[in-house]
């Protein structure tokens, strides 16, 4: 099919231009004003932002093992509605993605979807934090990110060995920063509210000490390091300093850490339970401010589906995690303030994460196309149309995800994905799966 996206604000890496985008044979064929629509299906995009489809660095697709909450297919549909062209499937499945067989399985499931599904492999076998997973073999399958997410690698010696091993492979390690001794038993942010509610706190210190530790290990052994879902001002300050030094450190924040504070836990609603926890308002403000300074490479969802029966348990027994894919763009738009810059918006949701996941170039071994396009002719046609004027409400019953554990049910949102084109195919149009 050939599509002509007419009259949108085309968002490049450094600026915007009102232009048409012609998509043909899976490629952005032409970008410019007044393009010829002959033979093309015309999509009017006036008033909308047209840019590279989003890339999520942090998606829990729950397959294999917990398909009652989500599977690759349902997660991909949710992603498409959220404007995503590529998702990085996290390895904390059951069993964990720590072998060729398991990674191949998820890649094969991903290939059946309309999206590009990349896989992050486990750093250690079974995510147990003791023995290194076969990173070289997994890298040969196209795995570019490794993480034990859900847990951080607690043992500093194991983390050092992992970094030493990963560096020459050219892959990036991604750390869930929480020291389990300090966070033990904690279910929400440690602060005045946790003390008042009688809920055990997970202190910011648990995150910050591991950020500090891993930056120091990186300085010693080299390589590429990514920090998952950073949630505190101190964490960002350390990342910023490390980057100034020239260390290859990247960082993501989640939509929830930039739009919700720990006050959301005041009514003991487990929908707001997540690790790292929602922080105090000062940290939320610091994270929002940092979105535009370049220290944050990506807004990544940490989309964490859970079945209703689990999320309905008492707060301390309920699992941590919340959905993200279908609301992330609107929440990022909100967090960017009163007049969001479209270049920053696409940097956080597409180009930045594509760079971190090494998805800027296509990978024929696994059939993944190139993401985070500059929106020029010749690039793979992974494109999203985002309408920054639409006002809508989160609705847990209107999600494509199999799970319903969104903390944004009923919340007023601004800005919505209208159209998602992946590899030249119209996957979502007018906000609906095609």
């Amino acid at each position: 099919m050939t599509y002509l996206i007419r009259g949108g604000t085309v968002v490049g890496p450094t600026g915007t231009t009102v232009a048409d985008v012609l998509i043909r044979d899976g490629i952005i064929a032409e970008v410019g004003p007044g393009l010829d629509a002959t033979g093309a299906t015309v999509i009017d995009a006036s008033g909308c932002w047209v840019g590279p489809a989003f890339v999520d660095l942090h998606t829990h697709l729950r397959e294999p093992g917990r398909e009652a909450a989500e599977d690759v297919a349902s997660g991909a549909r949710a992603g498409a509605l959220g404007g995503y062209g590529a998702l990085v499937a996290m390895p904390n499945t059951e069993p964990a993605l720590d072998s060729v067989a398991l990674v191949s399985y998820v890649l094969a499931q991903g290939a059946k979807t309309a999206l590009d599904i990349a896989v992050a492999g486990a750093i250690t076998v079974g995510r147990q934090g003791t023995h290194l997973a076969p990173m070289a073999e997994l890298a040969s399958l196209g795995v570019r990110l490794f993480t034990d997410d859900g847990n951080g690698v607690q043992n500093p010696l194991v983390m050092r060995r992992a970094m030493e091993y990963a560096a020459p492979l050219g892959v990036r390690l991604a750390q869930h920063c929480e020291d389990e001794f300090l966070a033990a038993g904690g279910v929400m942010n440690e602060g005045p509210l946790s003390a008042r509610l009688g809920l055990v706190g997970r202190p910011a210190l648990a995150e910050e000490l591991m950020v500090l530790r891993d930056i120091e290990i990186l300085r010693l052994v080299g390589g590429k390091l990514h920090f998952l879902h950073l949630s505190t001002a101190r964490s960002l300050a350390m990342v910023s300093a490390a980057r100034r030094e020239g260390l290859d450190v990247t960082a993501e924040v989640t939509p929830h850490h930039i739009t919700l504070s720990d006050e959301a836990c005041a009514e003991f609603d487990p929908q707001f339970k997540v690790h790292p926890p929602l922080r105090g308002v000062d940290d939320v403000a610091a994270l929002r401010a940092a979105l535009t300074t370049g220290v944050i490479d990506a807004v990544a969802t940490d989309h964490a589906p859970h079945t209703p029966e689990l999320k309905d348990l008492p707060f301390d027994e309920a699992p941590a995690g919340m959905l993200g894919l279908e609301h992330a763009a609107a929440l990022t738009f909100e967090a960017l303030g009163p007049s969001p810059d479209p270049v920053t918006f696409f940097s956080l949701l597409s180009r930045g994460p594509a760079r971190v996941a090494q998805l800027r170039a296509s990978d024929d071994r696994v059939g993944l196309s190139a993401h985070g396009a500059s929106m020029v002719a010749g690039e793979d046609a992974n494109v999203v149309i985002f309408d920054p004027t639409v006002q809508w409400r989160g609705d847990k019953n209107a999600l494509a995800s199999r799970a319903t554990n969104t903390p944004y049910d009923g919340r007023a949102l601004v800005g919505k994905v209208r159209t998602t084109i992946v590899k030249g195919r119209l996957v979502v149009h007018e906000g609906a799966l095609q």
């Binding site: 509610l197 809920l199 706190g201 003991f268």
Partner: protein, 324 residues
């Protein structure tokens, strides 16, 4: 704001007037408990479910006695396990009991917030929190202030209700021990301060809440000095079952720093009242001989549990919600 027709989930934010209404109502029920026939038909035909998901003897007996003395039918379920271990979710358990036709649930649960969560499951049922995790134990807070008012009023030869809340103005309350893990402390602090008392807390550094911002209390630096200051000393049970082992080096050490020993009792002024919510760890937070002193009102606290819980059930279940 009154408790009439409302849930009782927490004492945080509950007004002085609402607390005094409970105390005055409880006082009228004290007399009922002294009759030969200790029953009034205030809740006749109503069904109260007593759901204890965590071990408790005294609180459960107290609530069930209170409900029965009001003429209610009591459905009792004691399950000392988490909902997960039990295999049935809290929501399903509540739905099952609710299907029997309930007017009120008295809930004890190891999870902070469980009572609030249950109140969302069954909005048509009145929920009384009988202790949720480390969060709140509102009826304990109420019976503690009731007991203090009763004792102080007796000393003046008047009824507590005649004094309203005036006996709490400037009353000096010292709460000692495991504040961090204590739902009793959270409820007590709310109750005492709502009535105008001044509250100080004394504990080893690890047993203070991790963040006291917004708590209307002062942390005492000198325990002995605070004992001389206090009108009321409220002890807390050292919560061994909550992993307190790693919070203090040894029980002996806790006794050394914060136990109410005979030596320390000698520092108290003659009028000072000693309270403990029970069950006591004799020899740990309180010396056994101190526990048996006349100024130690633990038995009175237990006795007052029944009329206070009668008042709570009566107001909450039979009361009509105030118009906003």
């Amino acid at each position: 704001m009154s408790l009439r027709g409302e849930n009782l989930l927490t004492l945080a934010g509950v007004s002085r007037e609402a607390i005094l209404e409970v105390l005055d109502t409880a006082e009228s029920f004290v007399e009922v408990n002294q009759r030969t026939i200790k029953k009034v038909p205030a809740l006749k035909g109503r069904v109260v479910a007593s759901l204890f998901f965590e071990e408790s003897t005294r609180t459960r007996l107290s609530f069930e006695t209170a409900a029965k003395r009001l003429g209610a039918d009591v459905v009792s379920l004691a399950v000392a396990s988490s909902s997960v271990k039990k295999g049935e979710s809290l929501r399903d358990t509540i739905a099952t009991i609710d299907a029997l036709g309930l007017d009120a649930v008295v809930l004890r649960h190891k999870s902070s917030g469980a009572a609030l969560q249950v109140s969302r499951y069954v909005p048509h049922v009145r929920v009384i929190n009988a202790g949720d995790g480390l969060h709140q134990h509102p009826t304990q807070g109420l019976l503690d202030v009731f007991t203090v008012r009763q004792i102080l009023a007796e000393r003046q030869g008047v009824q507590g209700a005649e004094t309203g809340g005036e006996l709490f103005a400037g009353l000096r309350v010292l709460i000692v021990g495991d504040i961090r893990h204590s739902r009793v402390a959270r409820s007590d602090i709310a109750a005492y301060t709502a009535l105008g008392a001044e509250v100080r807390v004394a504990a080893p550094g690890t047993l203070l809440p991790s963040d006291l911002t917004g708590w209307p209390v002062t942390v005492v630096e000198d325990f002995e000095e605070a004992l001389q200051w206090a009108d009321v000393v409220g002890l807390l049970r050292l919560q061994n079952e909550r992993g307190t082992g790693s919070f203090v080096p040894t029980l002996d050490e806790f006794t050394f720093t914060h136990g109410l020993t005979e030596e320390r009792v000698a520092l108290l002024r003659p009028s000072t009242i000693i309270l403990h919510p029970g069950p006591m760890n004799r020899g740990v937070e309180i010396d056994s001989r101190v526990a048996d002193l006349e100024r130690s009102y633990m038995t009175r606290q237990v006795a007052n549990g029944v009329p206070v819980r009668m008042a709570v059930l009566y107001l909450s279940v039979a009361g009509t919600k105030e118009l906003a």
